[in-house]
């Protein structure tokens, strides 16, 4: 007997209705899956589950960058057991969702235009006017309900119930897609013979539906996905969907409204935008007409929508429908508007704005759940059963004071579904988020959706955020549906011309390049320092060089040395705590300039342009994300710093692999140029700083040869040097190699030459009229080329290279100006918006 059958044998549903079992017998639509599952040993199952985890992670869930959201972010998991729906069951659900979406579309249009339903008494006015999702500035505008989503749960009678509606920025679609991608890789044999309805068709409908919102029909629309940015808990999904659908991922600052039209700021100038797929709450989209304190939108957006110059999904104003106050009125509205019975039942709901209903809710408070009609400001749901007497009394007072703002709802008795936990199947409750997209007069529904289940047993509260355990949702089908590849089915390019790079992307790429270089040089320098430090056979000169290198490390990483040293203003002595200090410079999460932080900054910028990286590049990035966490725990690091050599080697290899992939795998268009400019300008500054900080002020003639050797080592030039000049360590030769050699990729001159080459390809480059940053670079390059190598290599009796020192300082300053001026010209450093001061309000004259 196989392990998996044992698996099901020990499964006890603990509910009157279970998704899989009737009594002890599995339902027919589960058999194909269960049969395949039964061929797997428990070891294989374990392996597959960890393969799922690995793939989810690799596909880019770099969540813990944002340290505040660390905990919830890490909770994203995918169960190997899917949620399987029988075909006929699904057909009923699908019909019900379509009907509900159509009904909501009619209600939404009416509320923002004629308000007949209100005047005819079909909807009580408070449900509209007291709901903060009713946006007065949107009154009179078209309100197409392009996307509709709802959360469904199965009750113990086996029926699906609507638990809540999502109409403004429904999230989860990308997670559903991601889950399916991973499952179809990991469980490939389970998908043979097409027993599961594909998602491709839905995403095809989705694209067409979004494209139809474009005000410029007949031309290929420019579509952007408006995200709140990397701080958003569903940012991963925004990046994932944007890249899957071929939309440009933008934030509010990237858009600007001119003459009632919306434009994207790109490095080439302003590009018109036709459709915005928004993931920003509607009231945050325009600080002029909507929430004045919002930084996530763009002023004038409401006006652009009003004039019909841009399509918006979903419409500004659609959050009105996320309104449990409407629920009790839906059956009658459905009759009136569609002439049909409402098909999918909602959980029984009483709106407290009606006297009788309010009394019912107040009387049954301990049994019900109570929520507000809008969910702005994260208003919570109250579960009567979980409240103390005192809390119940308080809730009662709240409801009585503003009854029309509250509803009471029955608590659904959930069916159970199995979840694989710790090698056993455990019964859990599940929610299914389903998605529909407008398709002419009808809606197209994703076959399946995103299933989530509670992690704790018996818990009906499934976190709204995308945490908890998720499941792929399978709608089983008997006939093989024709395989339809998304890419073949859809038109090739609903996207901006490939040459277009948004200013924000250019900005992020530049910083990925900068931080990657900086992390590499800091890692090399740390490796060198640790080697020197742990070398037992050292003399006075070695100590001096070591101290100098440590100082250099502080300078280039901009980490602040321990206060004591700084206060005394002397060269650091090798104090007994240096082991701890070195560890802190590597692993400290909060210390500015630590290697960990440099990597975090690099990954943060890389994550912000996630769609750009190839899978291989992404894998390397993910490995670096884990690096610090993995090695910080190594045993006995404190007593044996030598153990750090291997991890540092690995990290340097990863950084080199990333650089190599960038060079070999990326299309070398404008996007790549900004990445490479970030690298080159950072490397130029780092080389200059290294020489200037460690050699030019060494202040000890005897230490010069050793320092030259170390400099050549840390800058990856020692092999080349030995090949060219043998063992003789000479400052003149070393500087020639490090600074002047235009063929040496590790030399200063090489970087400057490459930068100059990039500039010629930038948009709006004109050789006759140089920009500030072009002048900075030209001056840096000329200063270097006009300087005399021999005189730079000469030092005074004290051992200081004065001319070298001043030249390098000058070049560093110019390169820093270069970066600043380049970023001012091309990146989206918008000035901060401010509200016009309020004036006329505070004055009046009385006649006393």
């Amino acid at each position: 007997m196989s392990d998996s059958l044992t698996l099901l044998d020990s499964y006890i549903p603990e509910s009157l209705f279970d998704d899989v079992l009737i009594g002890n017998v599995p339902k027919a639509h589960w058999l194909p899956f269960l049969n395949k599952l039964s061929t797997l040993s428990s070891e294989t199952l374990e392996q597959l589950q960890s393969e799922i985890r690995r793939q989810l992670k690799e596909n880019g869930v770099i969540y813990n960058l944002n340290q505040q959201s660390h905990e919830q972010a890490r909770a994203w998991q995918l169960d190997i057991i899917p949620n399987i729906l029988a075909e006929d069951d699904w057909q009923q659900i699908e019909k019900g969702i379509k009907q509900r979406a159509k009904l909501f579309q009619l209600i939404l249009q009416d509320c923002y235009r004629e308000q007949k339903l209100l005047r005819n008494g079909l909807i009580p006015p408070e449900i509209i006017f007291a709901h903060r999702g009713f946006l007065l500035p949107a009154y009179g505008t078209e309100q197409p309900l392009t996307l509709y989503a709802c959360d469904l749960a199965r009750g113990i009678n086996g029926y699906m119930w609507i638990v809540s509606d999502r109409t403004q920025v429904p999230s989860g679609m990308g997670f559903a897609l991601e889950n399916r991608m991973v499952m179809s890789h990991v469980l490939a044999p389970f998908f043979q013979g097409e027993p599961v309805k594909r998602l491709a068709h839905f995403f095809n409908d989705f694209q067409q539906s979004i494209a139809r919102l474009s005000p410029r029909q007949g031309t290929e629309p420019n579509i952007v996905l408006l995200s709140p940015g990397i701080g958003s808990e569903t940012y991963f999904e925004h990046a994932y969907l944007a890249s899957y659908l071929g939309y440009t991922l933008v934030q509010g600052d990237d858009l600007t409204v001119r003459e009632g039209e919306v434009f994207l700021k790109t490095i080439e100038g302003l590009e018109p935008v036709d459709v915005i797929l928004r993931r920003v709450d509607d009231d945050a989209c325009d600080p002029l007409e909507l929430r004045p304190d919002s930084r996530l939108g763009s002023p004038g957006l409401m006006e652009a929508v009003r004039r019909g110059k841009v399509g918006m999904a979903n419409s500004l104003g659609s959050s009105l429908l996320e309104n449990p106050g409407l629920v009790p009125f839906l059956p009658k509205l459905c009759q009136q508007l569609l002439g049909e019975e409402l098909q999918l039942p909602s959980v029984a709901t009483w709106w407290c704005g009606q006297e009788k209903e309010k009394q019912h809710v107040l009387t049954n408070l301990p049994k019900l759940m109570v929520k507000r009609i809008d969910r702005k400001d994260n208003h919570q749901t109250f579960y009567g059963a979980k409240l103390s007497q005192e809390e119940l009394a308080k809730l009662k007072r709240q409801v009585e004071a503003e009854a029309h703002l509250f509803v009471g709802q029955d608590v659904l008795e959930h069916a159970t579904t199995p979840v694989l936990m710790g090698g056993r199947l455990e019964p859990r409750h599940a929610l299914l988020r389903s998605f529909a997209v407008a398709d002419g007069d009808d809606y197209s529904v994703m076959p399946g959706g995103l299933s989530r289940s509670s992690v704790a047993k018996g818990n009906v509260v499934i976190n709204n955020r995308m945490g908890g355990m998720s499941k792929d949702t399978w709608v089983s089908q008997n006939q093989a549906q024709r395989q339809q590849s998304f890419w073949q089915a859809s038109k090739p390019s609903h996207q901006l011309p490939p040459s277009t790079v948004s200013s924000r992307s250019a900005d992020n790429l530049f910083w990925v390049g900068c931080y990657a270089e900086k992390a590499e040089y800091v890692a090399r320098l740390l490796r060198l320092i640790i080697n020197l430090y742990t070398d037992s056979d050292t003399g006075e000169i070695d100590d001096k060089v070591l101290a100098k290198l440590i100082n250099t490390l502080y300078d280039i990483s901009q980490a602040i040395p321990p206060k004591a040293r700084e206060d005394q203003g002397i060269e650091p002595k090798l104090n007994p705590n240096i082991d701890a200090e070195l560890l802190s410079l590597i692993f400290h999460k909060e210390r500015s300039g630590s290697l960990h932080q440099l990597l975090s900054h690099m990954l943060g910028a890389a994550y912000a342009v996630k769609g750009i990286w190839s899978n291989d590049s992404w894998r390397v990035l993910v490995s670096m994300e884990e690096w610090s966490e993995k090695w910080a725990q190594t045993n006995n690091l404190q007593n044996d710093l030598k153990r750090l050599e291997n991890p540092l080697n690995l990290l340097i290899s990863s950084l080199m692999a990333f650089a190599g992939l960038n060079a070999e795998n990326m299309n070398q268009g404008t996007t790549w140029r900004f990445l490479d400019m970030g690298r080159r300008s950072a490397r130029a500054i780092l080389i200059s700083q290294l020489i200037q900080k460690s050699l030019s002020q060494i202040n000890d003639v005897e230490a010069i040869p050793l320092m030259i050797e170390k400099l050549l080592t840390v800058s990856e030039n020692i092999i080349t040097y030995r090949r060219l000049y043998r063992r003789h360590l000479d400052a003149g030769f070393a500087l020639k190699l490090l600074m002047f050699d235009e063929h040496n990729p590790r030399a200063l001159a090489f970087q400057l030459k490459r930068l100059e080459a990039h500039l010629a390809y930038l948009p709006q480059h004109s050789p006759d009229n140089l920009n500030a940053f072009e002048k900075n670079l030209l001056e840096a390059r000329s200063s270097l080329r006009l300087s005399d190598g021999q005189s730079l290599a000469s030092f005074d009796e004290a051992g200081n290279f004065e001319r070298l020192d001043s030249l390098l300082k000058h070049i560093i300053q110019l390169l820093e100006q270069f970066s600043n001026n380049l970023s001012l010209r091309y990146f989206s450093h918008t000035q901060v918006a401010q509200q016009l001061a309020d004036n006329n309000a505070a004055q009046t004259i009385t006649r006393q």
């Binding site: 006017f129 002029l288 006006e303 004036n839 505070a842 004259i845």
Partner: protein
């Protein structure tokens, strides 16, 4: 019948320490047309002069029927001025000396309980709004007038008188974001505080009440010539009385606005009628100069 024509000039001038690179604005400065049994107002002409010249400007009506001008300036500037020039006719249908009698007679049968029955479209003026929460202490305050006076008009008149009496007018004591609960404690402020206070009272009693923004003509002290630019933008409230319409009350001055008030816009509270709002990029710090001038013309 008394007809008065006013020529109104309302200037707003902003001066910035740094240049402004981009500005989006919304202006509500066009006086309204309306009429009810007591008086009638019509805007005979209106122009909006904006400097620097906007690259984009558009006029529309908002949810409440107010005129809104949207404009966008994308040229660099350090000074911006918005001047609204209007000529407005205000027609009083009853002699001023007879107004009180007229209102008493006309509104006498209407109890305040009856005045609460309104069509669903008036819901926004019954509910709490962003600047006007419905506070239990204000309900208690209003209750005194409404217990004493069964007739709607008398109760409202009484309430207005009490607010006028209990409030201390003090410019600078409050700002636009001072919460009503705070104002209810200090009973100090300016016209919009008086108005928000009264609106909350009236809505607590179940009547529909709205916020009105407009101008108030200032009369010079006896024997002195009128100075220019001393008139002011002002705010008061309006209550819906079935079979009559919206009747205005000015709690700051304890009077029924007649021929010295000009209505620009109305809404649930200040947020709906803010005369000039905007989002600008750049600008640094700023200085603001506002002047309103109302000149009577022979009709």
């Amino acid at each position: 019948m008394i007809e008065t024509n006013f020529k109104i000039t309302h200037l707003n001038r902003y001066e910035y320490s740094d240049g402004v690179s981009l500005a989006y604005n919304e202006v509500k400065l066009t006086p309204k047309d309306f009429s009810h049994p007591l008086l009638e107002q019509s805007c005979l002409s209106h122009e909006l002069l904006i400097s620097p010249k906007p690259q984009d400007q558009r006029q529309r009506q908002d949810f409440f029927g107010n005129q809104v001008s949207y404009f966008n300036i994308s040229s660099h500037y350090q000074k911006m001025s918005v001047t609204s020039n209007s000529v407005v006719k205000r027609k009083l249908k009853v002699k001023s000396s007879e107004v009180k009698n007229y209102l008493h007679t006309r509104l006498a049968p209407l109890s305040w309980q009856t005045a609460r029955q309104n069509p669903p479209e008036f819901s926004p003026f019954h509910l709490a709004s962003s600047f006007v929460p419905l506070l239990s202490e204000l309900k208690a305050y209003a209750q005194i007038s409404f217990d004493k006076q069964p007739l709607a008009f008398n109760a409202l008149n009484d309430l207005m008188q009490r607010i006028h009496h209990d409030f201390r007018f003090k410019p600078g004591a409050t700002h636009i974001n001072t919460p009503l609960s705070e104002i209810a404690k200090t009973m100090t402020g300016v016209c919009q505080d008086y108005s928000h206070f009264m609106i909350s009272c009236v809505r607590s009693m179940g009547l529909a009440c709205r916020y009105v923004s407009g101008y108030l003509e200032t009369l010079p002290p006896p024997g002195q010539p009128k100075l220019q630019g001393v008139d002011a933008s002002h705010a008061w409230v309006s209550v819906y009385l079935p079979s009559f319409g919206w009747l205005d009350f000015d709690p700051t001055n304890n009077l029924i606005p007649l021929d010295q008030h000009i209505t620009i816009a109305w809404g649930r509270d200040y947020a709906d009628v803010s005369p000039l709002k905007g989002v600008i990029y750049g600008g640094g710090s700023h200085k603001l100069h506002v002047a309103v001038d109302m000149e009577r013309k022979k009709a």
